[in-house]
Assembly symmetry: C2
Homo-oligomer: 143 residues x 2
C-alpha cells in the first residue's frame, strides 16, 4: 500500500546553519503556501504556535541500519521512533513554530529547523489539551 502526498508549499530561509531541533532554534523563515490553499490560512494569527509537517527531502533512504541511531549529544543508540532523526521509514518531520506574521499565503515563522527549500505537507493547530482544541465540545474544555 502506497500513500501519495503532494507538498502544499515550501519553506524559505537565508540561514544555512540550521539547528537540529525547533526547541533550540531561533531561525526565522517563511512558509510559502501554494496560492490555492491561501484561504485555509485565515485563522492563523501572529503570536500563536503551529505544528508544521514537512518532508525530510534531503534524507537518505531508510534501511534497517537506521532502526537504532545515536543522536548527537547522546552516548548510546536509541530506537528511531523515540528520536527526531530525519532518517525514518517515512521521512516526515514535525516542528512547533511561532507565527510572526501572515500575509496572504506567506507565513513568517520563528524557531525553524527546516532547510531552505523544504517541502511542506501540512499545518495544524498546536493543541495541548481540550482547552485549545477546536474539535472539542465546549463542556469538555477545561483540561
Amino acid at each position: 500500500m502506497k500513500i501519495e502526498m503532494t507538498p502544499i508549499g515550501v519553506f524559505h530561509t537565508k540561514t544555512t546553519d540550521i539547528p537540529r531541533h525547533w526547541s533550540v532554534s531561533d531561525v526565522v523563515g517563511t512558509i510559502e503556501i501554494d496560492e490555492m490553499y491561501g484561504p485555509g490560512l485565515k485563522d492563523i494569527a501572529p503570536g500563536e504556535k503551529i505544528v508544521v509537517l514537512f518532508n525530510f527531502h534531503k534524507s537518505k533512504k531508510f534501511d534497517p541500519s537506521f532502526l537504532n541511531q545515536t543522536p548527537p549529544h547522546r552516548q548510546k543508540p536509541m530506537g528511531v521512533f523515540s528520536i527526531c532523526s530525519p532518517y525514518r521509514p517515512n521521512p516526515i518531520g514535525l516542528s512547533v513554530l511561532e507565527v510572526l506574521a501572515v500575509d496572504k499565503n506567506i507565513i513568517t515563522v520563528k524557531h525553524a529547523d527546516m532547510l531552505d527549500g523544504t517541502p511542506i505537507l501540512d499545518i495544524k493547530p498546536h493543541i495541548t489539551g481540550t482547552s485549545n482544541c477546536p474539535s472539542c465540545p465546549e463542556d469538555a474544555r477545561g483540561d
Copy 2:
C-alpha cells in the same frame, strides 16, 4: 512533485464510537508495527506520551470547498490549517497518545481518535521543549 509514503503499521481497536479528538478520548487500542520495524520501538516505555502520525484513510479527496470548514461545536467556518478535520490537502492525522504497554512490535495506547484499520505513518517522541528533546545538547536542556 509527489512524495510516496508506505504505512509502517496499522491501528486496531474494538471501539466503533471514536471521539473526534485525542484530547477527549479514552479509547484504548493497539498499534501493530510491521515486524521489520520492531527494533525501532525499544525505547518506548509505558507511561510516556508518543506522537502518532497516521493516514486519514477514509477521508474524501480534498477540494476547495474544504479550505474553510465549520467544526462540530463551533458556529463559524475556520481555515483548514487551524482545525483538525480529516479533510485536508494531505490526509495526515496527528494524535498524542499515552503508552500503556509495549510487547515486541505491538504498542497498546490510550486516548486514541483513529478508526480501526487506520494506517500508521510514523511515531515520534512527544517533545514539549529542550528538557525532553533527545537531539538537544545537554547544556540547552532546561527550557
